[in-house]
Symmetry: C2
Subunit: 673 residues, 2 copies
């Protein structure tokens, strides 16, 4: 390039260089490594390479752009504008030629690797780089003088025109290859998948604009949730969920493992029904999004190890007993049809890697989304569910374990517990002086003490306490001195409130009554929550031991339940380690987000696989200190760890209701705690 | 190694070197690059590494081997001998240690890459190197302190103990992986397939001795033939054939293509039946060989392009019309189950590459077997069938074409023609003086003029003339001056034999009669043979033109029919170019042999694929000279080419029966020829 050649400057990248006069903008972009999309290879068909030239004085770049800096519209551009309409000020990068110095803006929609901005500040944005892309090519017609197969000529065209070498092609396309090429008069659009060996996975005659779609599935023990995503924009077009149909074989995972042990063919039957469920869900998502099913060509899956094995058709038998050996744990790349899914025949499935026998692909997805391995400060990530998956780490390394919290946090094992649904108490405050409570129920924004509350909840009723509600009420009882650090509810004479009512040999706290209907928190409920939170804390504490620290910089609560937990209340219970309250954040459905990242970004797949290999896996069952931490953590917040930061912001009365007269229940607790 | 270390000399390879005292013979072999088998990795289980030490004076090698040159039997060797028996003089290479200078013979059965000796001198032997092998490994048991999946530990063991890296595993093995490892108490034998990405394709608990098997299938339009082979020894354990069940959709290929054009779903139906046929054939072979079906893990397939497309589930529509575009022609590697075959779930299928729209994988297999590309002299290879596939070449290059000979060579279109079966005339001689014939029929070794012939053929009768018989009788008629070079049969007064009998406006030659039953050769039969042989010759001649030669050094006749053709008679007809008769050989079923080579030798797969890419493909339909050669080749032997070598050994009377009085038929011929 000589100094006389026109200068081209691309924004926002700032990339610049001189190109020979007459160079198409698309070619200039490719030479300078500017991210400018093109499906049709510069034939003026796809309009993916649209750019916005800037004219006039650009002091910042030191150039003045003349009105004739680009070539005038040619026939292709005029035709495109006439038929499909080109936005004001836009040009087709493949047709407009650089004649003089020019500044070219590449709008986001013309970039291949757009970024999806994520709301939370600590997270990096997602770069869109799906393994799937479209390529339009013109294929040579057959020639008897140089016999070659239609496939050879298609692959030659993809090599010459798109630069794709050593491409394979899906077997299911071979029968449609010849009619498709002839229908498109030797022009064809190929969907190429490049995760693993690059392959042609779908074909359309002539030019096909797209977009292509993918689905991210979070396969939980209880619910299956899916998001259907536009792979070009990252936009979620439809979201849906359904109950995991395996529930009829057992509510929790271990009962499903038992079912497979007790019933020959039981595992295969569970595999069948969960695959049917996923298939149905994807069908619903396609219908809801109103897309053509043949454009849904990629899928990502996250799930815990038992669901993973059942979904992949593996008997989970070994996961039900020590040493909890996985059959296979690495990321799986396969055809969706290998999983019995009836999407498009070329649809790929990517199953994220499992971390260990108790730490699943859902935890790997949380790690991908929350990225502890990219964190400068030490972060504890907790995915709260029936099992808690716990990650601790920073840039220098990440540890993981799972801890069997049981279903108490989901409202099970709680006398008035229920799933989060209208009518469930989800927020609670207890006045530390009067020990009178007020609460909110799901579906109503009013506190129970506000005017109109009764009317507002008339439809749903007040039906029970959901998971976040039970955490709040127990923590509020602790802060109000109604329950002591060991978990004993005080007698009315000790607590000064008649809401403490005897129940057997212990006391319950009356949260609400209406006629003969009442909702109480029993000492049994407190005990269940203590067991669950102690398991969670002991797991986190064990990782802190392994890491050699006694505090963490921040805590991230993941999971749908984590999204509703109040950090203060969780810390009062001692669920999570002591830490500034404003450093406790919720990540929402981080596993689902991780599944979506793996769907949208092929480098993220390599990243999560490398991360999972590197993560130090801790099996709580064989760690003697786990038990020790568990015992200390049954106290609220903790019998061993002092929680100074928490104590600096909340009052935790040091009551003790085990001074006689509080019944056997209390003494039993004390002995155990 | 110091000069003091013992010297070990392996035979037959002659490889030698010094190894530290105490080195196991197997280790020494590996260090010196000697081909010594081992499945169990030196654990004394498989006995594949058996060797025969030699003792005493070896003048040739300059060593004397003492009786204690190898360590004494250890417990493992003694136990092996006790339980399974070790041949006299044999040692286990993994147990016997080198103590002093020694000469070690590696018997053929202990070599991985044995050679199968082929009978014909011009052919190279087949080196046995199937893509399949067995590996016995001991896998680490799961350990909760270092959680890893059973698959990871299996792959680690294969890497550490067998040196196999980046191994994949078949999806169908994942569900059986955990029970197999536990049944084998963490020892397992894996079948590894290395053609393409290396993969584990089968698993057996503990030690599995093998052998593994494969099947080579030659999928013809009329018959499907299969050979079941021991992949370790190359031995054919069972051979079988059945009629191609597609025959009900049309006798010849073009009628099957038409069927698919006229009937929606017709191609799919033909795909279904041919796959069922192949499946049935393989089942029969497994039963006949008495092997376990789970050891049949590889299969190779050869066929013409139409059968190829139908077998692969591709509509052959485009092959029925110019420009005869193949959908796909490259070699296909897939799972046998992709072809609807119900062998073992891990069984691989290898489909040899097609050469062009009319030149199939059968021709590629012939090229692999007959290896024109390795030939020093210029060889013409002709696979004679309904279509003739023709190869011409030597080390410097190979050309290929196909020529539509039609079914005359198979006895069709011949008035007394029939398939080769007992009762069919297959050999004919005509006395050049008396013009009296004698013949042999299939199923009887006597000439028709010999005593006892009538009795011997009483059971079968004399039913017609098969393909090789019709060639002989026409050539004999030509040599006896009964038919002229243009193809006219002379009148009795011109030929001097009453066996020339009028039939319409031409004459027939009476070969045999018994009462009112007679077998004649009509002038129409001569014409049908002229058309067929002219097509064959014209194809060969066209390749010779392209190559710029007017003679070939040798001719190979391939195909079951080629095996029965008499070279002299074929050359008298002018089927094949002039060449010394002893340079015309039969290759038998070369396509089947090529399929077997591709099954047994993985390098041969790469070789045939490279060869097919390199072969210059000639489409006879678009070559103007083809028609010219065809016209000249209707004469016997040829109106343009002089055949001097042939004429130096046989007498070809220059009769001409078109000098009036021989009818319109004769004049018509003369005008065309």
């Amino acid at each position: 390039m000589s100094d006389q050649d026109p200068l081209i400057i691309f924004t926002p990248s700032g990339k610049r260089g001189r190109v020979p006069e007459g160079t198409p903008v698309l070619d200039a972009a490719r030479r300078l490594g500017v991210d400018l999309d093109s499906v049709c290879g510069g034939r003026g068909k796809c309009s993916k390479c649209q750019v916005a030239p800037g004219y006039g004085e650009f002091a910042k770049h030191g150039v003045t752009v003349a009105r004739d800096a680009l070539s005038a519209w040619n026939e292709v551009e005029a035709r495109y504008d006439r038929i499909r309409g080109l936005k004001d000020g836009r040009r087709l990068g493949c047709q407009a030629r650089v004649m003089k110095d020019v500044v070219i803006d590449v709008p986001p929609e013309s970039q291949v690797h757009k970024q999806v901005v994520r709301k939370r500040a600590e997270l990096r944005d997602i770069v869109l780089s799906s393994p799937l892309s479209l390529a339009y090519v013109e294929v040579a017609a057959p020639d008897m003088h140089h016999p070659s197969s239609d496939l050879d000529r298609l692959l030659d065209a993809l090599k010459a025109q798109v630069g794709l070498e050593r491409l394979g092609i899906d077997r299911h396309l071979l029968p449609v290859l010849q009619p498709t090429l002839r229908k498109g008069k030797w022009a064809v659009t190929a969907a190429i998948h490049v995760d693993g060996d690059p392959r042609v996975v779908a074909l359309w005659p002539d030019f096909f604009e797209g977009p292509l779609h993918g689905v991210a599935v979070d396969l939980g023990s209880t619910t299956i949730a899916g998001h259907l995503v536009n792979l070009v924009t990252g936009e979620v077009l439809a979201s849906s969920g359904l109950m995991n149909p395996q529930i009829r074989f057992g509510e929790d995972l271990m009962s499903r493992v038992s079912y497979s042990m007790m019933n020959p063919g039981g595992a295969a039957e569970m595999t069948r029904v969960v695959r049917e469920g996923v298939d149905r869900l994807i069908g619903e998502l396609v219908a809801e999004a109103g897309i053509g099913a043949e454009t849904l060509l990629d899928a990502s899956f996250v799930m815990n190890p038992v669901m993973h094995h059942l979904f992949l058709g593996l008997d989970p038998y070994e996961l039900g007993q020590a040493p909890f050996a996985l059959a296979v744990g690495t990321a799986q790349r396969m055809m969706a049809s290998d999983l019995g899914l009836t999407i498009a025949p070329g649809t790929r499935a990517y199953v994220l890697p499992l971390i260990a026998g108790h730490v699943g692909a859902d935890a790997a997805a949380v790690a991908l989304s929350e990225a502890p391995h990219r964190s400068d400060d030490l972060v504890l990530v907790v995915d709260v569910g029936t099992n808690a998956e716990i990650l601790l780490g920073d840039k220098t390394g990440v540890l993981a374990c799972s801890s069997p919290t049981g279903p108490a946090f989901e409202g099970a094992q709680i006398s008035a517990g229920q799933r989060a649904a209208p009518g469930a108490i989800e927020r609670v405050e207890i006045d530390p002086v009067t020990r009178e409570p007020r609460f909110k129920v799901i579906g109503c924004d009013l506190w129970s003490t506000e005017d109109g509350f009764r009317t507002a909840v008339a439809a749903s009723g007040i039906t029970g306490i959901c998971g976040s509600g039970i955490i709040e009420v127990v923590a509020e009882m602790r802060m109000a001195g109604i329950v002591d650090p060991g978990g004993l509810i005080g007698a009315p004479e000790a607590t000064g409130t008649a809401r403490c009512i005897p129940e057997g040999r212990t006391y319950s706290y009356l949260l609400w009554e209406d006629g003969d209907r009442r909702i109480t928190v029993t000492n049994g409920d407190i005990r269940a929550i203590q067991m669950a939170k102690a398991a969670l804390y002991a797991g986190a504490r064990l990782l802190m031991d392994k890491r050699g620290v006694d505090r963490v910089d921040r805590v991230v609560l993941a999971g749908a339940f984590g999204a509703h937990i109040s950090p203060k209340h969780a810390m009062v219970l001692g669920m999570i380690p002591d830490c500034p309250l404003d450093r406790v954040t919720s990540a929402g459905n981080a596993a689902g987000t991780g599944a979506r990242i793996a769907l949208l970004n092929r480098e993220a797949r390599g990243e999560v696989e490398a991360l999972v290999r590197r993560i130090e896996k801790i099996e709580t069952a064989v760690e003697p200190r786990f038990q020790e931490h568990f015992v200390a953590a049954t106290a609220m917040p903790n019998a061993a760890d002092p929680f100074p930061i928490l104590r600096s912001v909340v009052d935790l009365p040091e009551v003790d209701f085990n001074t006689g007269g509080s019944g056997d229940g209390g003494r039993r607790r004390r002995r155990r705690g």
